[in-house]
C-alpha cells in the first residue's frame, strides 16, 4: 500500500540521483545517506522508545574502528570489515545499555554522555593504535567489495544506497511489528507497559542494541566508503548531530531522519557561502525546534494531515 510505495519510491528516486546530480553532489548524497543510517538508529532509541541518549557517538566510533582496525592491522576487505563494524556497534550498545539503563531520564543522558566521553578519551590515549585525533586512512585494498572499488564514485554511491535502503526498510518493518508497538508503549507509559507483562529493561536494551547495530553500520560504512577513521567521530558533536537530524525531520517517523539529515546538510552548505558560523546554525536550529516544532517536520505533518505516515 501507499506506505511501501512511498518508501520504495524514495529509494528509487535516490537511485536515479546518481545520474542527474553532479559527482560532487552525488558523493555528498552518499555521505548524507550514511549519516541517515546513524540517525535512523538514533531515532529507534529516542524517537520510538523515548531513550534520550547523549552518547551515540560512542556507537558510531565503535562501528568505525571495528571496521577500520581489522582492515588496518590484518588487511580485512570491505565485506568482513563491514560486518565487524555492525557487530561492534551492537556489542558496545548492549554493554552500554546494561549499565546505563539502570538509570532513566536526565541521569541516563548524563551516563551515556560520560561513557561516550570516556570512549573518546580512550581513543586518544591509545593514539599509537587508533591514530588519535588525526586518525588514519583506510587502505585501498580494504575498500573493495566483490571486485568493486568503493573509493570510486559509482560503487560508493550504490553501496551507500543499498545500506540506506536496507536500514530504511528494516526500520519500517520493525516499527510496524508488535515489537515496534512495544517500543512506543514503553515511551508512552512505562508503568502500564510493565503491568501488561513487558520487562522495561529488556525492551529498552533491545532497542538500544538495534540502535547500536545501525550506528555500527554507519560508522563502518563511513570508514570503508570515505576511507578515513578518526577519534573526532567519537566527540560530543556526533552525539548531537543525529539528535538534531531526528528532531528536525520528525522523531518517531521512519523518513524523518533522512529529511533532517538532508535539510541540515543543505542548510550548512548554503550558509557556508555566507558565513563560517556553522555552529550558530546548529545551535539556533536546536533551540527553534525544541521551542516551536518539537515534533519536527514529518511529525507535524503526520499529526495534522497524514495520519498514516509511519
Amino acid at each position: 500500500m501507499r506506505v511501501w510505495v512511498l518508501h520504495l519510491g524514495l529509494i528509487a528516486v535516490l537511485f536515479t540521483a546518481q545520474y542527474w546530480l553532479s559527482p560532487y553532489l552525488a558523493t555528498n548524497l552518499a555521505r548524507i545517506m550514511v549519516l541517515t543510517v546513524f540517525a535512523m538508529g538514533y531515532n529507534l532509541a529516542f524517537g520510538y522508545t523515548g531513550l534520550l541518549s547523549l552518547g551515540h557517538a560512542l556507537l558510531l566510533a565503535a562501528g568505525m574502528y571495528a571496521a577500520g582496525l581489522p582492515a588496518q592491522l590484518w588487511g580485512w576487505t570491505a565485506g568482513p570489515a563491514f560486518i565487524a563494524g555492525i557487530a561492534g556497534g551492537g556489542l558496545v550498545a548492549a554493554a552500554l545499555g546494561l549499565l546505563a539503563l539502570r538509570t532513566a531520564g536526565v541521569s541516563f543522558m548524563i551516563v551515556t554522555l560520560m561513557f561516550a566521553q570516556a570512549g573518546f578519551l580512550t581513543l586518544l590515549y591509545f593514539a599509537p593504535i587508533t591514530g588519535g585525533d588525526d586518525g588514519f586512512a583506510v587502505a585501498a585494498t580494504s575498500r573493495t567489495l566483490l571486485g568493486f572499488d568503493l573509493s570510486a564514485d559509482t560503487p560508493r554511491f550504490l553501496a551507500a544506497l543499498v545500506i540506506f535502503a536496507v536500514g530504511l526498510l528494516a526500520s519500517l518493518a520493525l516499527v510496524r511489528s508488535p515489537f515496534g508497538r512495544t517500543m512506543v508503549a514503553m515511551r508512552e507509559n512505562e508503568e502500564r507497559s510493565r503491568m501488561l507483562g513487558y520487562n522495561p529493561f529488556t525492551v529498552k536494551l533491545a532497542a538500544l542494541t538495534i540502535s547500536g547495530l545501525y550506528a555500527g553500520a554507519a560508522g563502518a560504512a563511513y570508514a570503508l566508503l570515505f576511507g578515513y577513521v578518526g577519534a573526532s567521530f567519537a566527540t560530543i558533536q556526533y552525539s548531537i548531530l543525529p539528535m538534531l537530524y531526528v528532531l528536525l525531520g520528525g522523531a518517531g517517523t521512519t523518513l524523518g531522519p533522512f529529511l533532517g539529515a538532508l535539510l541540515m546538510f543543505a542548510l550548512i552548505e548554503a550558509a557556508t557561502g555566507l558565513t563560517t558560523a556553522h555552529q550558530f546554525i546548529v545551535g539556533a536550529a536546536l533551540v527553534a525546534l525544541v521551542l516551536f516544532a518539537p515534533k519536527g517536520i514529518l511529525g507535524t505533518i503526520r499529526e495534522r494531515w497524514l495520519r498514516w505516515l509511519p
Binding site: P178, R181, T182, V184, A185, E188, N189, E191, R192, S193, R194, M195, L196, G197, Y198, N199, P200
Partner: protein, 234 residues
C-alpha cells in the same frame, strides 16, 4: 480447595505509616472477592503488593502455591495476575486498537487482530478501534482499561475502584460483565460503592489501618458490628 492467592504477614510501611501491616489473606479460585475499607486503609497498597507494583518489606505471597514475593511485576503479569489502575492508565496517544493489541500480544502475537477485536467486543468498544484513546469519554476509558486487563487472559483480575465515575447504566453493564468472568477468572475487587460490592461479591474482606478487620460473605460482613462501626456506619 487450594487458594489461588495467599499472603502471610504481608507488610509494607512508608516511613512511619504502616500502610499494610501483617496481612494474612486467602483468595479462592473462581470467586469474586470484594476488598473494602475506609480511605487510607491500605487497599490499593495491598493490591499493589500483590501485583508487584510495590515490593513487600516482609511477608510472603503465594500464587497457586508458588512463592512470587520476589518476582517483578511484569513476570507476575505473565503468570496470570492482571491489574487495572484506580486512576485510568492507558496509552492516551495510541489508538484504542493499539492499546488492547499491546495487552494481547504480550501473550503471543498470533491472530493479533482477531483477538484484539474480540477483546474490544467483549466490553462493547468495537467500532471505536481507530480512535485515539485520550479522546474517549471517561466511561469508555474505564472500559478500555478493563478490556486490556481481560485481554491478558489472567487467572486473577484485580479491579481497583472500577465503577468510580461511571453512570448507573454503565455500572449495570459492568456488573454483568464481571459475573460472566468467573469461574474461569478470579476477581479481586476494590470498591467504595457498597451496592456493587454486596451484589457482586462472593466474599468480602474489610481492611482498616493496614489490617484485616473481618472476612466473610456479604451478609456476615453487613451484620458484623465492628465493621459497621468502622466503615458502614451503624
Amino acid at each position: 480447595m487450594a487458594s489461588l492467592i495467599e499472603t502471610r504477614g504481608l507488610t509494607r510501611h512508608f516511613g512511619g505509616l504502616k500502610a499494610v501491616d501483617g496481612v494474612d489473606f486467602a483468595l479462592a479460585p473462581g470467586e469474586i472477592h470484594g476488598l473494602i475499607g475506609p480511605n487510607g486503609a491500605g487497599k490499593t497498597t495491598f493490591v499493589s503488593l500483590l501485583s508487584g507494583r510495590l515490593p513487600a518489606q516482609s511477608g510472603t505471597i503465594l500464587l497457586a502455591g508458588e512463592d512470587i514475593t520476589r518476582l517483578p511485576a511484569h513476570a507476575r503479569v505473565r503468570k496470570g495476575i492482571a491489574y487495572t489502575f484506580q486512576i485510568t492508565s492507558i496509552f492516551p496517544r495510541l489508538t484504542v486498537f493499539d492499546n488492547v493489541a499491546l495487552a494481547v500480544q504480550s501473550q503471543g502475537a498470533a491472530d493479533l487482530a482477531a483477538k484484539t477485536r474480540a477483546a474490544l467486543a467483549r466490553v462493547g468498544l468495537e467500532g471505536l478501534e481507530e480512535q485515539e484513546a485520550e479522546t474517549l469519554s471517561y466511561g469508555h476509558q474505564r472500559l478500555l482499561e478493563l478490556a486490556m486487563g481481560l485481554a491478558l487472559n489472567p487467572q486473577l483480575l484485580i479491579l481497583d475502584e472500577p465503577t468510580q465515575g461511571l453512570a448507573a447504566s454503565e455500572i449495570e453493564g459492568f456488573k454483568t460483565l464481571v459475573r460472566g468472568l468467573v469461574p474461569e477468572t478470579t476477581v479481586l475487587l476494590i470498591e467504595h460503592n457498597m451496592e456493587v460490592v454486596m451484589d457482586l461479591a462472593t466474599r468480602i474482606t474489610v481492611l482498616t489501618f493496614g489490617r484485616v478487620l473481618a472476612t466473610g460473605t456479604p451478609a456476615e460482613i453487613r451484620a458484623n458490628p465492628a465493621v459497621q462501626e468502622a466503615y458502614l456506619g451503624a
